[in-house]
């Protein structure tokens, strides 16, 4: 198939950028979106141009690296799918496809489509851990966990930290990401000792990093490749209210 892509090109963190149009010809409908960019980049390199910089790693939907907004939707038009798992057959021959980086003050553009997501690391460092003695692994059944909690914690733990929620949020908020981490740890017995400090510190780190507040608009859940439910934000709010009332 033959398509056109309009891609955000920006040579460095402080440089200005603009959308640049490229023709991509003879792409297989079975190619992934990233493979399409690979093909385009080969042409750019052969022509002596700078290839389009973009993040990618696993290319199997589990690392969360492949951040890009495709036609205004984080990770493109297919639900619950990362860009690396998106296929060109989702588009039509002759389409013009817009590709932009995540747009958030807390995720500054490094180059082209690559953004710096270390703000998420700061949120995790503030409380996304449990305190546990190191050494040999404890027996798996040493601490019983109700099945319901284990399943809910696992669902929350599937968050891959991709940042699509931030990219889609009209307020540039990372509340869904933070809520997923709070729920994942706070549902487990091992996560109880830090449950109160975790929610306060992680929310503080999120606010300090320059993310906006949540207005329950729900755009985040719609684009989340892992389908993290919006209801977890209610859990964060509830944990937060209880934690501050104890201080």
């Amino acid at each position: 198939m033959d398509i056109k892509v309009r891609v955000w090109r920006q040579s460095g963190p402080t440089a200005g950028g603009k959308m640049v149009t490229y023709d991509v010809k003879g792409i297989s409908p079975d190619a992934s979106f990233l493979e399409m960019i690979d093909v385009l980049n080969e042409t750019l390199i052969l022509n002596g141009d700078d290839p389009i910089a973009f993040d990618h790693d696993c290319r199997e939907g589990i690392c969360g690296a492949c951040s890009m907004v495709i036609n205004g939707v984080a990770h493109g038009p297919e639900k619950a799918t990362t860009t690396c798992q998106l296929h060109m057959r989702k588009f039509k021959d002759g389409d013009v496809i817009d590709v932009e980086p995540w747009r958030a003050a807390a995720f500054p553009v490094i180059k082209d489509l690559v953004v710096d997501r270390s703000a998420f690391d700061k949120i995790i460092q503030a409380g996304g851990y449990i305190t546990a003695p190191t050494g040999t692994a404890p027996d798996a059944h040493a601490t019983p966990v109700p099945k319901k909690d284990a399943d809910a914690a696992f669902e929350a733990a599937t968050c891959i930290g991709c940042g699509a929620c931030v990219a889609a949020c009209p307020n540039g908020s990372s509340m869904l990401f933070t809520a997923a981490k709070i729920a994942h740890l706070g549902l487990m017995p091992q996560g109880q000792p830090e449950r109160d400090s975790r929610v306060i510190d992680m929310l503080q780190a999120q606010d300090d990093a320059g993310f906006g507040g949540c207005t329950n608009a729900g755009e985040c859940t719609t684009v989340c490749p892992k389908g993290i439910p919006l209801s977890l934000i209610g859990r964060l709010n509830s944990d937060y209210r209880k934690a501050i009332s104890k201080r």
């Binding site: 540039g172 780190a205 999120q206 606010d207 300090d208 906006g212 755009e219 859990r235 509830s238 501050i244």
Partner: protein
């Protein structure tokens, strides 16, 4: 080697300090701001229902409506001097709306700063119309409330004037030849409906509602309350317009 090395006090699994030094931030957190908005908003919603119920008294009769208005001033007497209850309520409402607008403004500024560069390609936001219009809808509501007080409370903009009976002000205010007033009123009341359709649900969530089943229930409650409120408020001007009252 299995020698007991004392664990440094600050170490933990993530290699960060065990308890990040609490930053004494003077900025209220985004969830605190939402809590302020939810509690003040809930207070305003309670008032809106009480006010709407009182308005319906005009269907019983115009003198009954005027008695109701007088009763509001006598509420609390003899404990409170005449008219004090109303002033206490007004101060409470002003504080509520002040806090609500303050929290909304701080969060709006933060949200704008959080996305300094806009997307070149942005399809219509998928969320509800109500959720998208909370901020501008709120501004319309406040402008309306100011006009509304000058019209029906002080009578400044009312053809019947401030010294007339409350029911006379209602009838004169919504007279057919002042259709543009009724139009503006309708627009504002519908804005309140949209604001509350998202707002009431959002308040449940802010206060900790956290199940998917409860989410649907809270959204249904918000929708029903908003529709009922809009119907109660629109019934009065349309009754005057069609001659049912007056």
């Amino acid at each position: 080697m299995a020698v007991d090395t004392p664990i440094p006090k600050t170490a933990n699994a993530a290699g960060a300090t065990a308890r990040p030094t609490p930053r004494k931030s003077v900025r209220p957190s985004s969830v605190i701001l939402k809590l302020v908005m939810a509690v003040s908003g809930a207070l305003l919603v309670l008032f809106l229902f009480a006010h709407a119920a009182g308005n319906l008294k005009i269907f019983v009769g115009e003198t009954d409506f005027d008695h109701y208005a007088e009763w509001l001033r006598e509420l609390g007497t003899p404990l409170l001097p005449h008219g004090w209850f109303l002033w206490i309520q007004r101060i409470g409402l002003l504080a509520g709306i002040g806090l609500h607008i303050w929290a909304a403004t701080v969060l709006t500024i933060r949200a704008k700063k959080a996305r300094p560069v806009k997307y070149a390609h942005r399809p219509k936001i998928q969320g509800s119309y109500a959720a998208r219009t909370m901020r501008w809808g709120g501004v319309i509501i406040v402008l309306f409330v100011i006009y509304h007080i000058l019209d029906l409370t002080t009578g400044t903009f009312n053809p019947a004037g401030g010294d007339s009976d409350p029911s006379a002000r209602v009838v004169a205010g919504f007279a057919p030849e002042r259709w543009y007033v009724t139009l503006f009123y309708t627009l504002a009341v519908v804005s309140v409906g949209f604001h509350l359709r998202h707002g009431i649900w959002s308040a449940f969530r802010t206060l900790g509602q956290q199940t998917t089943k409860g989410e649907r229930r809270a959204q249904a409650v918000a929708l029903v309350l908003s529709v009922v409120l809009v119907a109660m408020y629109l019934s009065v001007p349309f009754a005057v317009l069609t001659g049912l009252v007056g």
